[in-house]
């Protein structure tokens, strides 16, 4: 039961943190609940499908199917997060003005919720398919009883969701005037981290063979497998032993997103006009 709890907790946490950021970034947008719920549920359904065909996917591309699939999923997520941030940079001023006009914390409904719903769906898909494969294994052979498995799974989901909820409510404590700047920043780092993970999968598959040396080793300081290490790995792409290619792609992704945002009017325009203090 403990093994089930731990694995379900880890995977739910990884997907949950991403959903938490998305929820905070869409605070006050009407119908966001429907979009994000649809994203999460389609991710759950998708992870069952991916787990069922895991072997078939893995055998594609001379056995590199799994890596290329993961890299593809990550790259799509990076594209969606970029789209969201660039859109927000372009429309942030309007949103801020409207919030001021209406005098509430409710922002405009005109937002690209599709992009973020897709991000939630992909996050759940990736982590969920691992959970499904694990639970199937437990169920098929390991002699853990079904009630034990369900209890472990439920506790794991609860614990993972609780920490994700902490992140969400923590972000909500940020004043609304700053919230979008904060979430845009978080989404930029999240996207860069996902891009670096995609590079790791391509290296594992032998698709990228240059710049594969390790740049630094901070495992003595913060182990990536520790709880804090995992949190930072998911949120900002922390790696205790990144390769040069990962680091370069990470920095390029940040640079790309910021450049696109500034070309759209800048991330700062998300804030309302400064008030005399």
């Amino acid at each position: 039961m403990l093994a089930t709890l731990l694995i379900v907790f880890r995977e739910v946490l990884e997907a949950g943190l991403i959903v938490g950021i998305v929820l905070a970034a869409t605070k006050g947008v009407p119908a966001r609940g429907v979009w994000i719920a649809f994203g999460v549920l389609s991710g759950v359904a998708g992870s069952c499908i991916v787990a069922t065909f895991a072997s078939e996917i893995g055998e594609l591309f001379q056995g590199s199917g799994q890596e290329l699939f993961n890299a593809g999923v990550l790259i799509i997520a990076v594209a969606m997060l970029t789209w969201h941030n660039v859109w927000m940079a372009g429309h942030g001023r309007e949103i801020a003005r409207e919030m001021k006009r209406v005098g509430t914390e409710v922002a405009s409904g005109e937002r690209p919720l599709l992009a973020l719903a897709v991000v939630c769906s992909l996050a759940v898909l990736r982590e969920g398919s691992e959970v499904v494969l694990f639970l199937y294994g437990v169920f098929a052979s390991d002699g853990t009883s079904l009630p034990e498995m369900i209890l472990g799974g439920a506790l794991g989901i609860f614990a993972g969701a609780a920490i994700s909820a902490l992140l969400y409510f923590g972000l909500l404590a940020v004043p609304t005037s700053r919230l979008f700047s904060v979430t845009s920043g978080l989404i930029t780092l999240l996207a860069a981290g996902l891009a670096a993970q995609a590079v790791a999968f391509l290296q594992q598959a032998g698709q990228i063979e240059v710049l594969s040396r390790t740049v630094w080793d901070t495992s003595w300081l913060l182990l990536e497998d520790s709880l804090l290490g995992r949190l930072l790995h998911t949120l900002i792409g922390y790696s205790d032993r990144p390769s040069a290619a990962q680091l370069i792609v990470y920095l390029l992704t940040v640079a790309m997103i910021l450049t696109l945002m500034y070309s759209q009017g800048g991330p700062r325009s998300v804030k309302p006009e400064p008030r005399p203090s």
Binding site: S55, E130, G137, S141, S212, R213, T214, D240, R241
Partner: protein, 117 residues
């Protein structure tokens, strides 16, 4: 007629040559790959020695009935290997040192170490 037969023989010979060449390449690859077996949720060998500074390939064979995930943040590797299946992962050139890995689905028993030297 003879010319045609000669041509056929030549192309057959070429085919055999090509087959030999590709077989040689495959054998070279297979020789390079380090075989790792998962059985009863344990790795054999649990200690894998690789030369430092050179890429290496692991060919992981899962002889259990259920899936296992070869997982190592130290090696930057995550690979699910289905029950009764095998999978190949590339290790990047490593600095001398010890790099632990686990089977994430059976962390208590499935543990191993890559030693680069």
């Amino acid at each position: 007629m003879t010319a045609l037969r000669e041509k056929a023989a030549l192309s057959a010979f070429r085919l055999v040559l090509a087959a030999c060449a590709s077989l040689a390449v495959q054998m070279a690859r297979a020789e390079d790959a380090i075989e790792v077996t998962i059985k009863d949720h344990r790795f054999t060998p649990a200690e894998i020695h690789v030369p430092a500074g050179k890429p290496a390939t692991l060919n992981i064979k899962n002889e259990d009935a259920t899936a296992e995930e070869f997982d190592s943040s130290a090696l930057n590797i995550e690979k699910v290997i289905g029950g009764g299946k095998e999978g190949t992962v590339r290790l990047r050139p490593l600095d001398p040192g010890r790099y632990p890995f686990i089977g994430e689905y059976h962390e208590d028993t499935a543990q191993g170490l890559v030693i680069a030297e």
